[in-house]
Symmetry: C2
Subunit: 197 residues, 2 copies
């Protein structure tokens, strides 16, 4: 196989959920296309790679050297700060329109297995943000896993602020969830957190 095509397939294959067969498909689709999709994609990718960087305040990817749309939006300064793992979580929450405050992306979860240590978390400016932005509530929307809870506890102790309330998303049976498909751990949490009617 031609070395340029082979290199391209290998790079595509390493992307999330693509794999070697998918990489072949994508490379062929782009190279056989006569409308210039390959060049368009390459240009857009280079443009984004060069000009996009994390917001210095919250970590949301935005135009390099600027503050992101959430941190700029004064209507979002409602005293609530939602701590999430990465940008895709921000997009998910935004799509649901459930939250109207500001975000803070920590960029990972503490884990011995994948080597994510406290210094890898983007939390250096959290205390500063609490003061500057008059934050009254920090809402943790981290994955409901051991790593998520560990990270949450670590961040609370690292902030050490008494003038904010901390909250986390409720655990329980998802909407439309049939009981026989729910795992034991979730059932235990749902029973423990039952609400009186």
């Amino acid at each position: 196989m031609n070395s340029k095509i082979e290199k391209l397939i290998k790079l595509f294959a390493k992307l999330p959920r693509v794999g070697s067969r998918g990489g072949q498909r994508i490379a062929l689709a782009l190279l056989q296309d006569k409308t210039g999709r390959a060049a368009n994609l390459a240009t857009a990718l280079l443009d984004a790679a060069e000009n996009i960087a994390p917001c210095s305040c919250c970590g949301v990817l935005t135009d390099r050297g600027t503050i992101c749309e959430f941190c700029r939006d004064a209507t979002r300064a409602n005293g609530q700060l939602c701590v999430v793992r990465d940008l895709s979580d921000v997009w998910t929450l935004e799509k649901s329109s459930v939250f109207h405050g500001r975000y803070h992306i920590i960029g990972g979860l503490l884990s011995g297995a994948n080597g994510c240590l406290p210094q890898d978390l983007n939390i250096a400016n959290l205390s500063e943000r609490i003061t500057n932005e008059n934050i009254t509530e920090i809402i943790f929307a981290l994955p409901n896993t051991v790593e998520g809870k560990t990270t949450q506890h670590y961040i609370i102790s690292a902030i050490g602020a008494d003038n904010v309330t901390y909250s986390e998303l409720a655990s329980g049976v998802p909407l439309g969830g049939e009981l026989d498909y729910i795992d034991d751990g979730t059932l235990t949490l749902a029973f423990g957190g039952r609400k009186s009617l």
Copy 2:
């Protein structure tokens, strides 16, 4: 969402089997990566888009302005020419090591539904190749569908050469195929083409 990221996601989402969620994942993985994968991929893609073109003889993608590895390889001049739809079929056949002649990529199948007409097929130089390369057998390895068979008949009549034999891949039960999973059409073909033992 940032317009540069949005544009990138849309371009990725249009690639085969990626979709909007996959596009988000891929764009995020590339933009959050600190090892320069995004720039690498963009450079490789631009390089390939600019310097890769179909071989003027058989249609296999190769370095622009050169003849492909198959057409250059004298050991492949065995008088056999395998007609396939696109380059991924060539890769599939090469992986199986079942064929050692030369290829001819026609680039599509005749179909009213997707508007592929006879002039869209890459067959203009087929007669010339038969003469120049002393082709004695043309093997059709096109999809076993109505469009594949239509295209095959059209190409045979378009070539109109009497000094070559034409063949097509055998139809039947695939290796390891259980009869109760085989469709009626395949079973009919397999019965019609039964071999005496």
